[in-house]
Amino acid sequence: AEIKPALVYGTGGKFDKSFNEAAYTGAEAYKKETGTEYRDFEPTSDTQGEQAIRNFASRGYNPVIAVSFAWTSAMEKVAAEFPETKFVIVDSVVDLPNVRSVVYNEAEGSYLVGLLAGMASKTGKVGFVGGMDIPLIRKFGCGYVQGAKSVKADMQVFQNMVGTTGAAWNDPVRAGELTKNQIDQGADVVYAAAGASGLGVLQTAADNKKLSIGVDSNQNHVHPGSVLTSMVKRVDLAVYNAYKDTAADKFTAGVQSNGIKDGGVVAAIDENNKSLITPEMQTAVDKAKADIIAGTVKVHDYMTDNSCPM
């Protein structure tokens, strides 16, 4: 059937080279394929996000996709007001019959890039810079630590968060400074899970001739030769699939969890970072993937018990 799709980004903005950009890519792909126009909106504050979701719903847009956990409570309210409209929320769970909640097993993805970081590191020290200090980001960090330590049990992992408010997603200066701290302490690979702030991490690593790891989108191209890999969440697929399912009347509500098995999280390897990935690293990653799918390696999810065993 003909659909009228809408997309509300997180406050990082459409072209954050990360999470939101991935959603945009998915929507564009669907548009290219089907010729269906969609509308999107970039809120700059919390109230605005809720208004945008509601605006779309009340104007008959369907499905309405909101990317970012920040829209959880907004989604709870608006989805209840418009039971006929299909909603998708990414990175959070909203338990309503017309909402599909897409979550990712970031721990598994982060494990993979942690593994690569551990292998690429010459100093035995790697770093992690998170955005806002929330459980979700700690989940990234925890998976990363596990991956890195799987290479070498005494691997040292520095962890920092940019801040404790929403501004932490938009502060590349501080993120860069934290990265420089970690580099000064010996880290030679730094993983950014910090939204737009992550650009500061990638930049600082490149400026200091160290390696970095991107997040959400494939950020390998941002500083070719310096970005070791990216922990890609296939948000583009989530968006694309949601539109497609609705158009085909196959929309399902409920939680959709994407891990390595479903191809929802991957460690991106492309022409920009080929030279950085040795054949041993490639084999190690493939093996880890297989082990995780087989269940022989279990990656602990921070959010299950709000703690990280490492």
């Binding site: 909106f41 970039e42 700059t44 504050s45 919390d46 109230t47 605005q48 208004q51 945008a52 509601r54 605006n55 956990f69 920040a70 959880t72 409570s73 309210k77 608006v78 007001e81 959070s92 200090d133 929330i134 459980p135 979700l136 404790t164 408010t165 929403g166 959010m303 709000n306």
Partner: protein
């Protein structure tokens, strides 16, 4: 001859000149819109429709206006006593703590109308407390209140983030915020009021704190123009030397004025915390304290003027959201630009048009 001391009638000083300043501010805002390739008139149309076109739009407009009335009053009360309180933002933020504590502790047990008076007091006390130290520093040690209140905005932000992240956060939740208040800790929406005018409020969080705001307008009017304290504050604000002569205690008057100012700012949190989101969130004030400066300047520090100015800014905020939705090229931050221009023209350049007006007025009167 200088024109500075020539008196102008009230309708020019309080009517024509502010209006012209406002028009200038909008003119330059229109230039910005035009510069980014959009049609300013169409933008204006979207803005007004978005703010006043539907019941829920009006609800949102009044919701924003409610916050601005509180902060506008806050700035105005201090201003009457000759104090420039730039700290309404921080006082509102900390005031939210007072409102939230009351809501969190009472919402299980009592209905909202029992919680409300305590919440009003709680918000006011916390807001006032945050104004106290700058007030004391000004009164006793002569520290410039503009600087100290700015500093306290930052200190307040750090404090609140700390509390929300480390104390109030709900385990397992992502966002640093308190749990959602139950109905006993929420201020109900004013659907019935809108229904009186045949409008549907819809999802707009226009709530009971609007009525509290109007009551505060009345009380502030009473305070400033009908009480002995208000008389003393105005005397101090206009002529500190006359205040000394009249035996008006400087320290006491400054501190009381700032406590009232801080208390009013704190009450802004009733609207945002208990009326809209039903929880205490980081950065919920979202600049309303600063808007209060513009509102107070525009409203000439009079409650009636403040109500009008607050509604004007409510229109800008709500209409701005709709405008940015309709014209994605214009982000909502356009409103911040307009706000800045309004403060610039109505505040910083308030004397710019005066000489010309004096000349016009004198020629018109055939002098």
């Amino acid at each position: 001859m200088s024109t500075a001391s020539v008196p102008l009638p009230g309708w020019i000083s309080y009517g024509v000149i502010p209006l012209l300043n406002l028009i200038l501010a909008f003119f330059f805002s229109g230039l910005v819109v035009w510069a980014i390739g959009e049609n300013p008139f169409e933008a204006l149309k979207f803005l007004i429709e978005g703010a006043l076109g539907r019941g829920d739009a009006i609800g949102f407009t009044l919701f924003y206006a409610t916050s601005f009335i509180f902060t506008g009053l806050s700035v105005a009360v201090a201003f009457h006593a000759g104090l420039f309180n730039i700290g309404s933002e921080g006082q509102a933020y900390v005031g939210g703590l007072g409102a939230a504590l009351v809501a969190l502790s009472l919402d299980h047990y009592v209905p909202w109308y029992v919680t409300m008076p305590f919440a009003v007091i709680g918000a006011a006390i916390f807001g006032a407390a945050w104004a106290f130290i700058p007030a004391w520093l000004q009164a006793k040690r002569g520290s410039h209140i503009v600087i100290t209140t700015i500093m306290f905005n930052f200190i307040g932000a750090a404090l609140m983030v700390y509390l929300l992240v480390n104390v109030f956060i709900v385990p397992g939740k992502m966002a640093p915020e308190t749990r959602t208040f139950l109905a006993g800790g929420q201020l109900p929406k004013l659907d019935w009021l809108m229904a009186l005018f045949g409008l549907k409020l819809g999802p707009a969080p226009f709530n009971v704190s609007f009525i509290i705001a109007l009551v505060m307008c009345y009380l502030v009017w009473l305070l400033i123009w009908r009480t002995k304290l208000g008389y003393e504050m105005r005397t101090l604000g206009i002529s500190p030397t006359a205040a000394v002569y009249a035996g008006i205690p400087y320290v006491r008057t400054v501190i009381i004025a700032m406590l009232i100012s801080g208390g009013l700012a704190g009450m802004m949190s009733l609207n945002a915390v208990m009326g809209a989101s039903a929880r205490l969130q980081v950065e919920f004030v979202a600049g309303a304290g600063f808007v209060g400066i513009a509102v107070s300047l525009m409203g000439r520090s009079h409650p009636v003027g403040i109500i009008f100015a607050a509604i004007l800014f409510g229109i800008l905020y709500q209409g701005g959201a709709d405008l940015s939705f309709e014209m994605p090229n214009i982000t909502r931050d356009m409103i911040v630009v307009i706000q800045g221009l309004v403060i610039f023209f109505a505040g910083a350049l308030e004397y710019m048009l005066r000489p010309a007006m004096v000349r016009l007025y004198q020629t018109a009167r055939g002098k």
